[in-house]
């Protein structure tokens, strides 16, 4: 293949990973923005989404589309419920102390990973894509399912945006983010909002996990990469800024796609990791955030 098709392939791959990353990172950003805590177990919620998707979709053998749809609805709900109880049982009791919650979510990471390993086993399992359709370019065929991923992620991003900006629940969330105490004084049940946000953040990661599983296979160790990439995204985008997170997700997803087609994936990860650490050091509010809060 010559340069043109290579670029096209890199662009397509980059777009798919950008949309998946945007969903995952949005969850992390939401939790950080409103609750001011860093959720290290975020990648495990992604992984749980994928693994549960395998479980749910195998309930309906022979009908990949139906099984997948079932997984797409049930997995995020289940993961959200798990996250909700984790928040009630652990994080709320820590009073959302930033450093203690990091330690606690590291603990959750290990607990979830081990439980999945014990119950689900160490093997990677594939899930059949709901549609089997290939787009034929002159140089290569491209999986049509990946475009479904893009469309579904796009719709979910829009829905989340609508939820946050145009509904009453979103207003309550934003008020809590802006000033927790004043919100409380106005009768907003801050504790419940926090649990809801934590569950919503986990559910977003889980949706991303479900969408990825027909491409990547579900595996108990698959959570680490999305976690680090989400960290990178959220930091570059500006801690707590949702718009910045989305922009950063596209920059990183696309450049990741380009890099791994043209260069070594490990090298690009090393450079990205170092760059992000430096961004956090020298511009703590992120590259795209308008002002630090």
């Amino acid at each position: 293949m010559s340069l043109g098709p290579h670029l096209l392939l890199a662009f397509l791959e980059g777009t798919v990973s950008a949309f998946v990353l945007a969903l995952t990172a949005l969850g992390l950003s939401l939790v950080f923005g409103v609750m001011r805590i860093v959720n290290v177990a975020h990648g495990e919620f992604f992984m749980l989404g994928a693994v549960l998707a395998y479980g749910f979709s195998s309930l309906v053998p022979g009908l990949p589309a139906l099984g997948f749809l079932l997984a797409l609805i049930l997995s995020p709900l289940a993961v959200g419920a798990i996250a909700w109880s984790a928040d009630r049982l652990v994080l709320a009791r820590l009073n959302y102390n930033p450093e203690a919650t990091i330690v606690a979510t590291i603990g959750m990471l290990y607990i979830i990973e081990q439980l999945v390993l014990t119950i689900y086993g160490p093997d990677a399992h594939p899930v059949q894509p709901p549609i089997s359709f290939r787009i034929l370019f002159p140089w290569f065929g491209y999986s049509g399912y990946k475009l479904v991923v893009v469309a579904a992620s796009g719709m979910l991003l829009l829905t989340t945006w609508y939820l946050l900006m145009r509904t009453r629940i979103g207003l309550v969330m934003r008020a809590t983010q802006l000033d927790r105490e004043t919100a409380q004084n106005f009768g907003i049940p801050v504790a419940r909002v926090y649990s809801l946000i934590f569950a919503l953040g986990a559910a977003l990661a889980a949706v991303a996990g479900v969408l990825v599983v027909p491409i990547q296979q579900a595996h108990y160790l698959m959570g680490l990469d999305p976690l680090l990439l989400s960290f990178i995204t959220v930091i570059i985008g500006g801690l707590g800024s949702l718009r910045g997170t989305l922009i950063a997700a596209f920059v990183i997803g696309l450049s990741d796609g380009m890099f791994s087609v043209f260069f070594s994936g490990t090298l690009s990860k090393i450079i990205a990791t170092l760059l992000v650490a430096l961004v956090l050091v020298f511009r703590p509010s992120g590259l795209f955030a308008r002002s630090a809060r």
Binding site: V38, V90, R93, L94, P98, E99, A100, I102, V103, A104, I106, G107, M108, L109, Y110, I111, I112, E113, Q114, L115, L117, T118, L224, L228, F231, I235, S264, T266, L267, K269, I270, T273, L274, V276, A277, L278, L280, V281, F282, P284
Partner: protein
Amino acid sequence: MSGQAFAVAALPGADRRPVWLHLAVLVLLFGLQFVLPAYDHGNVTRIMILASYAMGFNLLLGYTGLMSLGHAMFFAAGLYGAGLPVYYLGFDPFSAFAAGVAAGGFLSFGVGLIALRTSGVSFMIVTLMFAQACFLLTLYFNGITQGDQGLVLDLSAWSWDVGSEDGPLSLISPPIRYNLALLLFALCLLVSLLLVRSRIGRVLVAIRENEARVSMLGYHSFRYKLGSLMLSGTMSAAAGATYALLFSYVGSTFAGIQYSILPLLWVLLGGQGTILGPLLGTALMFYLVDVSSEYSSSYMLIVGVALVLLVLWFPKGILGTVRQKWLPWLP
């Protein structure tokens, strides 16, 4: 002036109890090697090295109040800094150890200069990111490090005649291993003890409690924090170098995130900001995992549950609680 007065007031010079306690622990560890069965003998060797690593971590977390999530990079700097010269350049163990320690010193200086510009959660994430970059580097230079698979060092040429019936003992024979590990542990323990009882140590604790006030008193808090990070990183590297030399193995697993989390767990369990906490935490956790792995392989579950329970109900750890309730003089 104020610094001097502060130091004198904080140091009860007459109190020798901490010194005796820690010497007693060292004597106990020395004596243990003659009574332990072979299996536990090996375990205690490993625990002493890992506890030295945890002690290095604790200098930063417990006494300076900085939580690093990337200490594996310092441990790995010692590991590779000592291991690679042995493998490729035929260094003798002592030069290799020195190289490992130097690698840790330089790395912690560089990382400190950059990472210490942040604090709190940002510091944790920046150190995590740096450590992840180091881990990826060990994979990227697969041709040199062999990545996950790692390198096995050949140290058979190094042996000592200590008058044993079996002839000279090699570097990796159990008694030599045990006593070298004990030497490292004793060194780290004494350095930590001296540091925290000194004026500098008091400044570090003051930074942990209220950095703004320390700066206001005229201390250059950045320099103290950098010094603390360097000592912490160098101590961790010394543990890494010893690990590489005594167990003849160097591999990228030791640079992974897990090895940054483990010292955190050990220190939290034993009690952050106590000298003996790291040893206690490492030993308890080691045996907890060891005993439970006879019944199940849920090693990570124990680590996870322990972290959550500790942070929820036991944030001071064992020795921290002991100090609070019974022994206020515990350093």
